[in-house]
């Protein structure tokens, strides 16, 4: 049997979208390998129906393990127990942060090969081959596994969510032992929303700012430009500036923020790191202003302006206002 175990992250009663994509992908690949996809949830009192709902995305069985939430090492213990007691050849994770930590920890635990940032997986001769972009996405390497178990960690939004309509999955309780080191980290607070609760998801136009704005006040330039575009525009940000406290987390785009695809994404002072790109690359039109002509963002922009945002943004705001009349 060539079963695949998929980790499903959940929070406040909902399964993470990237995990749903991973379950769908796991189901597709397992079918090609002639096996089944099972999902695993780890948490405190995981609702039975939440677990069973993964049947709709192709999981034939869902394992539920009681353990601390939001930390990687307890999940390594749970998945390690599931894999040693089961018939699994691959473990699969959707994009995000925890999946990276769990997948890597599990690789160490099992002596398994691991590929991260995977954008596509295919079955070939009964084995999985993972495609992993490298060197700033300038090449894609193909990885297979020599180990008994192979670990695939997807890139954010790499796997498409597909509802199969298969209905509820069988849910099984999994008991496992917490390893000593897994009980040495304790969640104090989880999911704190820093900064104002801004709403950017409905906007047709996003003016996004990064570290190139220089300081928190620099965001005024973005807000003024968004204001000039009108009601359908909002301001977004990178992790660098959210971590620095310049802008609210609710406006962050990327791997540990939001995924958006507005009609226009105008990025000012943003380098275009992969973790940012994954949250906005499906925008219809991407315009970037950056003073460094080698900035990675120009590789995936439709229009790139090499120049100083402090000079360009104010004039652009005036011009947009004038155009709108």
């Amino acid at each position: 049997m060539t079963n695949i175990l998929v980790y499903a992250l959940h929070y406040e009663g909902a399964i993470n979208k990237n995990s749903l994509g991973a379950v769908s992908e796991g189901a597709k690949l397992a079918a090609e390998l002639g096996g089944e996809a099972h999902a695993i949830l780890v948490g405190e009192g995981v609702p039975q129906d939440l677990a069973a709902s993964l049947g709709n995305y192709g999981a034939s069985k869902v394992l539920v393990a009681e353990g601390p939430e939001g930390l990687a090492q307890p999940v390594v213990d749970a998945m390690g127990a599931a894999i040693s007691g089961g018939d699994y050849k691959y473990a699969l994770f959707g994009g995000g942060l925890l999946g990276f930590e769990i997948g890597a920890g599990l690789a160490a635990r099992l002596g398994a090969g691991v590929a991260m940032e995977v954008t596509a997986v295919r079955a070939e001769g009964g084995e999985l081959i993972a495609e992993r972009p490298i060197l700033g996405d300038s090449a894609i390497s193909e990885i297979s596994y020599r180990s008994e178990v192979g670990i695939v960690i997807g890139r954010l939004n790499a796997f498409e969510i597909k509802e199969t309509g298969a209905g509820a999955a069988a849910v099984e309780q999994l008991s496992f032992e917490l390893s000593p080191h897994a009980s040495q980290a304790k969640m104090i607070t989880r999911g704190e929303q820093r900064g104002a609760d801004v709403d950017i998801e409905g906007a047709d136009i996003l003016v996004a700012g990064g570290r190139g704005l220089g300081k928190a006040e620099g965001f005024q330039l973005c807000e003024e430009l968004a204001g000039a575009f009108g009601n359908n525009a909002a301001v977004a940000a990178t992790r660098a500036v959210v971590d620095a406290g310049w802008y609210p987390y609710a406006a962050q785009i990327g791997q540990t923020g939001k995924t958006v695809s507005p009609k226009l994404y105008l990025a000012a002072g943003i380098s275009g790191a992969i973790q940012h790109k994954v949250g906005m690359q499906s925008s219809e039109n991407i315009v970037a202003i950056n003073k460094d002509s080698n900035a990675p963002i120009f590789e995936f922009s439709d229009l790139g302006i090499v120049g100083d945002l402090n000079k360009i943004l104010p004039k652009l705001t005036e011009a947009v206002k004038a155009k709108k009349g």
Partner: protein
């Protein structure tokens, strides 16, 4: 408290990174430097020492890599490490992330650190996960992408951004922590520190010295097998405007947006 900081030598940011198409390994010729993300880990160690909450006896920089990697160690020492350890062995060359993590863990084991710090990612490999691998081998709790770290008795209070916002986690020592680049602003080394770096103790160890099982490391023994590299799907290059006359630039942007009915 004894802190080990994992560091790595990477191609300089200005060097175009390439793959050697016959081995699948990175072409590591050209100018190299200390991985810029590692400077945040060294700085974090220095701030724990200077913070004084827990006395820090020693900060040790640890790397794995070819002979040239000593330069990364010298840089790490100039930034504040007291001494360094270099794992250098043909047997570990070409190791994947899991094998590298194992080899580093073996190297660290001898040092019995209370805290292992590392950067959020290497500028070349971009795996983000070496800390999690090292922690599992050492049997220590671990967290990656930490942007705030407060020392408590026998523990660290850490903050980091994860999928749903900011988490605060208390981690008991000994622990492995990878720090995000927002955690601090690394200092510049003084001229004196740069000059003195080569005089600080540097120990070179081989796989046998740290009891690495060589059947688990190296390119051929790594569990992830590199098969081939291919070019990403071609994407039409975007239009580029060099801003010389800003009024003109803005006119062009507006025309571009207008053409696509975006205004």
């Amino acid at each position: 408290m004894k802190i080990c900081v994992l560091v790595k030598e990477v191609p300089d940011a200005a060097v175009e990174k390439r793959l050697n198409n016959s081995t699948g390994r990175m072409d590591r010729s050209g100018e190299k430097n200390l991985n810029p993300y590692d400077t945040h880990a060294i700085e974090a160690a220095m701030q724990i020492r200077e913070g004084g909450v827990a006395p820090v006896e020693e900060i040790v920089a640890v790397t794995m890599g070819p002979e040239s990697a000593v330069r990364a160690l010298h840089k790490a020492v100039s930034l504040g490490a007291d001494r360094s350890v270099h794992l250098s062995d043909e047997a570990v060359a070409g190791s994947d992330v899991a094998a590298t993590g194992y080899a580093l863990a073996q190297t660290l084991r001898r040092e019995s650190p209370d805290l292992v710090l590392l950067g959020q990612q290497s500028d070349d490999g971009e795996c983000y996960t070496i800390g999690a691998v090292v922690a599992e081998h050492l049997g220590m709790p671990s967290l990656t992408q930490v942007i705030k770290m407060d020392v408590e008795t026998g523990a660290l209070r850490c903050e980091r951004q994860a999928e749903y916002g900011y988490d605060t986690v208390q981690v008991s020592l000994p622990a492995v922590i990878s720090v995000g680049d927002a955690i601090n602003e690394p200092r510049y080394p003084s001229l004196k520190a740069i000059m003195g770096a080569k005089k600080k103790p540097l120990e070179t160890v081989g796989a046998a010295d740290v009891e690495i099982d060589t059947s688990k490391v190296g390119g051929e023994n790594s569990a992830a097998r590199w098969i081939a590299a291919k070019a990403p799907p071609a994407k039409a290059a975007g239009e580029i405007i060099e801003d010389e006359d800003t009024a003109e630039t803005v006119e062009k942007i507006v025309a571009w947006l207008d053409e696509r009915k975006l205004i």
